[in-house]
Amino acid sequence: MNIFIKTLIRDLRMSLRNPSSFLNPLLFFVIAVSLFPLAISPESHTLSNIAPGVVWVTCMLSVLLSLNALFHYDYENGVLEQMVISNHSLPLILLAKTISHWLLTGLPIILLSPLLGMTLFLDAESIYILMLTLLLATPSLSLIGAIGASLIVGIKNSGMLLSLLTLPLYIPILIFATSAVSQSQFNLPINGQLYFLASILLISLMTSPFVSAIALKTSLD
């Protein structure tokens, strides 16, 4: 357990000392969402209709932007090798890295979403649901993304490959999350979608560290 906390602190420390690593995807999120009212229509009705989709698609793309860096630098400078051959549990180390990734990408997106929801004329209830879906699903984005990132470790210019590997796995999350927010705008029940998002989170939490560990060992071999 000690190594889990050590890895978490180390990764957070490294990112905070190099803020562009997590600020770039976050800025992309804010800028992209705030461009939609300019490009489509400033009308409140239109904007509140497209808001769930806009926020969620942009959120996914910004997480995708940040995934490349998850293992890349540790691979380049050889720390990843040391993690793999360490006697500590590799899935535990990778889980710590993934959680630190979520704390610096998913969490800020959740915290910024009410502000962006307001600029897209979402009502208070829908903003609450939007935050809830983000809270349930952004950890899954990081966890599933970690599998993709560990598969492409060591491949040069692999951004495209990472998107191809990861985006299809993100689609169910996108469907359930956006439909939950849209339905809440019409006061329809959304329990089903939330349960699905929660179960995706649980499944990815249970499997992702182990699958990433196997993928990473294979990539380094």
């Binding site: 180390r10 000392r17 540790d74 050889g78 720390v79 090798e81 040391q82 051959i85 006697n87």
Partner: protein, 200 residues
């Protein structure tokens, strides 16, 4: 007492067979120097011994523990070509994490280890600001802390000056006197009491 047993190890990279049916045994206190031309598979052999790469065939074990097992991985300390340092972290933080991943001995602190390799007062220096030789020294200072019995060192003397080489050689000799095993590759002349040499 520790014993590293390697039997019938074969390594293939792509379509090339780098080496085949290598067997040797190392007992406590023995130092093995692996020599060979560039591309002969020295690094591959060390990576296989570290459990980083898999061999085409063959077996290896330390005290009957197979590679990949908790005990085997606890017994080794591997140092590859890459610096194993993160530029955003201080020397001390880097060394702390490296030794956390490996085995940490309580009797020597991180600052003392850095002082031993001639990096006194470098605790709070970013690894990014170090020269290639100094980076190598930071990583090698882990040798003063680790409790691993089998050291696998890939070109440990690269980028080191004469004084640095001397410090590390002394430490390797001390490790071997304490009953440890060391496998290393180097193209440089070294003054180690190399007990055995393996040519690939």
């Amino acid at each position: 007492m520790s014993k590293l047993i390697v039997s019938d190890l074969t390594c293939q990279r792509g379509y090339n067979e780098l080496f085949s049916n290598i067997s040797f045994e190392l007992n406590s206190g023995e130092i093995l120097k692996i020599s060979g031309a560039n591309g002969s598979g020295k690094t591959s052999l060390l990576k296989i011994l570290a459990g980083l790469n898999s061999a085409e065939s063959g077996r290896l074990s330390i005290n009957n523990n197979k590679v990949g097992s908790y005990d085997y991985q606890s017994d080794i300390f591997y140092l590859g070509h890459l610096p194993a340092l993160s530029p955003e972290l201080y020397c001390k933080e880097n060394l702390d994490y490296l030794t956390q991943l490996n085995n940490k001995s309580p009797d020597l602190g991180l600052s003392e280890a850095l002082t031993n390799v001639g990096l006194k007062n470098f605790d709070y220096e970013y690894a990014a600001n170090l020269s290639a030789g100094q980076k190598r020294r930071v990583v090698l200072s882990a040798l003063f802390i680790t409790q691993a019995k089998v050291w696998l060192l890939d070109e440990p003397f690269t980028a080191l000056d004469a004084d640095g080489i001397n410090v590390i050689e002394t430490q390797i000799t001390k490790h071997s006197d304490d009953g440890g095993i060391c496998v290393l590759t180097t193209h440089q002349k070294c003054n180690l009491q190399v007990i055995r040499t393996l040519t690939l």
